[in-house]
Symmetry: C2
Subunit: 150 residues, 2 copies
């Protein structure tokens, strides 16, 4: 348990049993993208697919509610003589819980895991507005993320 502003929170790995509406997990993800409706069966399928691919999702739990999350996707490279890298994806803090250091704590947790897994780097894509936040966490801007919608 860690403490922030007097409120104790826990960082742990997301469980399949967290995939119900009232856990706060989807409310947290809404800060990334608002969904019309949540298909729980589909979420369970994705959970299992992600587990098979070795994706690790962390959640910050405060008073039994999920209030922040991020995921780590590992990629085994041929370059770096077969090195491994970690992609940090979907950092989200639930509306009303921002500015309490949860994203920072999650990033530290993700970086610790990446180090344990023998990764040589951690990368993530963020909006222009969030560059300074990640610079403060010790990251540096290196490339441009390009996108095409299908």
């Amino acid at each position: 348990m860690a403490q922030q502003d007097g409120a104790e929170y826990e960082i742990r790995v997301l469980q399949e049993s967290d995939l119900y509406i009232e856990s706060g997990f989807y409310a947290t993800l809404e800060n990334l993208r608002k969904e019309e409706r949540i298909d729980i069966e589909n979420m369970r399928r994705q959970f299992r697919r992600r587990q098979q691919s070795g994706v690790v999702t962390y959640v910050v739990v405060l008073g039994g509610q999920i209030v922040a999350t991020t995921s780590v996707v590992f990629e085994d490279k041929f370059i770096h003589n077969g090195g491994r890298i970690a992609h940090v994806e979907d950092v989200a803090t639930r509306k009303g819980y921002e500015g309490r250091g949860y994203a920072k704590a999650l990033l530290q947790q993700a970086t610790t895991l990446a180090r344990q897994e023998g990764c040589y780097k951690v990368i993530l894509d963020c909006s222009f507005d969030n560059v300074l936040f990640y610079v403060k966490q010790g990251m540096r801007p290196v490339e441009i993320c390009m996108r095409v919608d299908l």
Copy 2:
């Protein structure tokens, strides 16, 4: 077989049997990063790990030699109600074979695969110098890639 400047080339998926020094695969990757030495056993291990994670690596083969490559890493999301995305990684053209449209052809192949796999977007990180190239391929700059070395 496709044709470029009179020379026929083929785009196909990388096979484990391509992982020997003389295939041109490592010479191609050297345009991303020069290695002191190649550990073939490690490369085979990475090949199998990547296969398990569903990573698809394409190569351009010209006269029996690999002259360009890229990889597609799929990620199953919770957002977009359990959507799938494709990360295009490690686009490389072998020294001396640049400017012949291989990277463009590989990107088209990767995008076709992503569409077949039901992805809602393709993303890739590139250097500032290469933004215009990817804009010409129909992509747009959307975010900044941040990095920390471990």
